[in-house]
């Protein structure tokens, strides 16, 4: 699925350069459930951005199913984001003015899915996360857990090859957190590749493979037998 070689990402911030990722090499196979832990500022989100084709590395390469995301054009990256990657954010990132149904449909806009099919697929995706009856609600009318489910439905509706989640439970209480983790686990069981960032060990432990990033370098917490 992912082939990451000597990946480095530096940011220029207030005259200093910050090495958010420092020579990371990693493989992630199809169908894996990977959790990424680490301290705040360790580089977790930066890694997920590289995996999600949202930004380019400073050096090194990220290859996703044969596509080198390092050298691809902006247009190709947008295409990859639109078709291959499902992304779940810590803050849900729903469009506040659109209903749950419409929020899910936004994910099908770049692929130019026709309106009727788009609506049907969005309805199905919402039903699959247990919100079949909430399609007409605005985000503010939903609880945090429900909003994150809508966000997961939005990530899933395009039938992505990989689901990337950046602290998906970070803004949720404990009970809801478990619901969301179980939902993601279920998706993995159904064959989806899932990479989930969390600083919650209880959540991380449920993954079959656990990574830790600190100071921009990655270490395997599970026996590194899988590479």
């Amino acid at each position: 699925m992912y082939e990451i070689t000597d990946l480095t990402k530096t940011y220029a911030a207030q005259g200093r350069t910050v090495r958010a990722l420092d020579g990371v090499s990693l493989r992630i196979g199809a169908g894996e459930l990977v959790s990424v832990q680490g301290p705040t500022g360790g580089g977790k989100s930066t890694l997920l951005q590289m995996l999600g084709a949202m930004d380019r590395p400073s050096s090194g390469t990220v290859v996703l199913d044969g596509t080198d995301l390092t050298t691809a054009s902006d247009r190709v990256l947008a295409e990859v984001r639109a078709r291959t990657i499902g992304f779940v954010f810590q803050g849900f990132n729903l469009i506040p003015t659109l209903t749950a149904q419409e929020n899910v449909e936004t994910a099908l806009v770049p692929a130019r899915v026709p309106g009727a099919e788009r609506a049907e697929r969005a309805r199905a995706a919402l039903a699959s996360v247990g919100l079949g009856d909430r399609g007409h609600h605005l985000p503010v009318e939903l609880s945090g857990g429900q909003q994150q489910r809508v966000a997961i439905a939005r990530a899933l509706v395009k039938n992505p090859a990989v689901l990337l989640a950046d602290e998906p439970t970070g803004n949720l209480d404990e009970e809801t957190r478990d619901e969301i983790v179980e939902l993601l686990e279920g998706l993995w069981h159904d064959g989806l590749t899932v990479v989930m960032v969390t600083h919650d060990s209880a959540v991380a432990r449920r993954a079959e493979r656990r990574l830790r990033i600190a100071g921009g370098t990655v270490s395997e917490l599970t026996p590194a037998a899988r590479t």
Binding site: A78, R81, F87, T97, L98, T106, D166
Partner: protein
């Protein structure tokens, strides 16, 4: 999705949408009104020019006279003049007719010369005169104190004779000035007669030019209906011009608009005008129509070359010579109106841009999320630009209605503009000669005065003011601001351009957003 999202977004920020739309609406309405009124004023100017110079006049030929030349208004009231009343006072009336001050007559050979120039389609010549009647009553000169001899006054010195100390036996003068234009009744292709239509009686005919056995012209005149009404004259009455009593055979109005005065107060045949003013074979104006608009400048140059003495004015020179409230309105519209529109327009577009940009900044995470979802950059930009465009169009629609209402109000007000053309010297220009309070002191030549028993300054405004009003041949035109397709197109164009401009600036902001912004600033 585009329209759903757009509608939701605009409804969500109703207040911002309203501010942008109202700003745009005010700007659109203002530009519409200014444009429409400006067209109306320009039309009014054309009307004034048409009623003074006639339709189709491209060029006029005149000659300026030295100031004071042929000054009308030299009245000499001798001790023996007039009729002696029972109390020994004398009533008198004197009439003077001459070309307008500041203009000079020229030989009618000029007409022939002009007619022979290439690309001249039509010509006609007129002789425009100013008739001034000075009438009044003086007390018995024998009863007056020394030095108050009423005789031998300087030209135009309308100084009122001093009355008795108690005002008894005071004198009163009045001055009546009106314009008389000598026209060729047979030549109505160009010139003042083209916009004149008969209201009452009959028009001047070619027969009138040489009616007498010895070829002398008939002593008849046609009056401007507006002037006739103000001077209380009707068909069948007589008016005195110079030494002649002329019979009023008809009244005329202007074809350029209701209640619009024609270019002259009175019309006579050219030969009669020439004989009245003792100016045989002389003209003051030649009206020229060119074959085509493009030939006007060349014809004007040819005339100047052939007749070096004369002043050659083209239609655009004439337009700039229109004075009076019309000219003020024109200035107001073209300066204040223009600047106001520009300022309001810039402010409206500025507000639209500012609010769009701040909206994009506020929605950084939202728009970044769309990019993270794989929305192409242009789709995000299009969404932002579309919102601004719709705000602009909303403003445009409101502004269009607002503008149409405002234009309707302007038209309903029935604003009357008065235009006087310089150079052509319509009566009333002499109004500068005096006003209330200065009349008794004697204005320039021709200025009237009333003195005597009543308070000199104030009394002067009575007969003097009337004299001016009657003499004022200024053409009144009711302002009509038209709603043309241009006005509507301008409104829609401004709305679209303003919205697009805001959309482009806001869109450019949105285009620079990276998808990674979606992960930033988690609330």
């Amino acid at each position: 999705m585009f329209f759903t999202y757009l509608r939701r977004e605009l409804r969500h920020r109703r207040r911002q949408t309203a501010v942008v739309a109202i700003g745009m609406a005010v700007a659109v309405a203002l530009v519409m009104v200014v444009n429409s009124v400006s067209t109306g004023v320009s039309d009014a100017q054309d009307d004034v020019l048409d009623s003074v110079y006639g339709i189709g006049t491209d060029i006029t030929v005149t000659q300026t006279g030295a100031p004071g030349d042929r000054a009308p208004g030299r009245f000499e009231v001798g001790a023996e003049d007039g009729e002696v009343g029972e109390d020994g006072s004398r009533a008198f009336a004197q009439n003077n007719v001459a070309v307008e001050r500041g203009t000079a007559s020229f030989d009618d050979d000029a007409l022939t010369t002009v007619a022979q120039i290439d690309d001249v389609a039509a010509t006609t010549g007129t002789l425009t005169l100013s008739s001034t009647t000075f009438s009044g009553e003086v007390p018995d000169t024998a009863a007056l104190p020394e030095g108050a001899d009423a005789g031998e006054r300087g030209p135009g010195q309308g100084q009122g004779a001093a009355g008795g100390p108690d005002g008894a036996g005071g004198s009163a003068f009045s001055l009546d000035t009106f314009s008389v234009t000598g026209v060729d009744p047979g030549s109505d292709a160009v010139g003042p007669l083209t916009t004149v239509s008969l209201v009452d009686g009959r028009a001047l005919g070619t027969d009138d030019s040489a009616a007498g056995d010895d070829g002398t012209p008939a002593t008849v005149t046609v009056l401007d209906a507006t002037y006739a009404a103000s001077a209380d004259l009707a068909v069948g009455d007589t008016v005195t011009v110079g030494d002649e009593d002329l019979e009023v055979i008809g009244t005329v109005g202007s074809t350029t608009g209701d209640g619009v005065a024609t270019g002259s107060d009175a019309y006579v045949t050219l030969p009669l005008a020439q004989s009245l003013a003792d100016l045989d074979g002389q003209l003051t104006d030649v009206y020229v129509q060119a074959d085509s608009a493009t030939a006007i400048d060349a014809v004007a140059e040819d005339i100047s070359a052939a007749l070096p003495e004369v002043t050659v004015s083209t239609q655009s020179d004439l337009a700039s010579s229109v004075t009076g409230s019309l000219a003020s309105a024109s200035d107001l519209v073209s300066t204040l109106g223009l600047w106001l529109s520009v300022v309001v327009l810039v402010a409206a577009v500025g507000i639209a841009i500012l609010l769009t940009v701040s909206g994009v900044t506020r929605r950084t995470r939202e728009l970044g999320t769309l990019k993270a979802l794989g929305w192409p950059g242009r789709r995000v930009v299009g969404q932002v630009a579309g919102e601004s465009l719709v705000q602009g169009l909303l403003g445009g629609a409101v502004g269009l209605v607002l503008g149409l209402v405002a234009i309707a109000v302007v038209n309903a007000l029935g604003i009357t503009l008065s235009g006087t053309t310089g150079g052509f010297a319509i009566g009333g220009q002499e109004r500068t000669g005096g006003g209330p309070g200065t009349g008794a002191a004697g204005g320039g030549p021709g200025a009237g005065a009333a003195g005597g028993g009543s308070g000199a300054g104030e009394a002067a405004s009575g007969p003097f003011g009337n004299a001016v009003d009657q003499a004022a041949g200024a053409v009144d035109v009711v302002l009509h601001a038209p709603v043309s397709p241009t006005v509507v197109a301008i409104a829609i164009g401004i709305a679209v351009l303003g919205g697009l401009l805001a959309g482009i600036v806001g869109g450019a902001r949105a285009a620079r957003l990276r998808p990674a912004e979606a992960l930033r600033s988690v609330a």
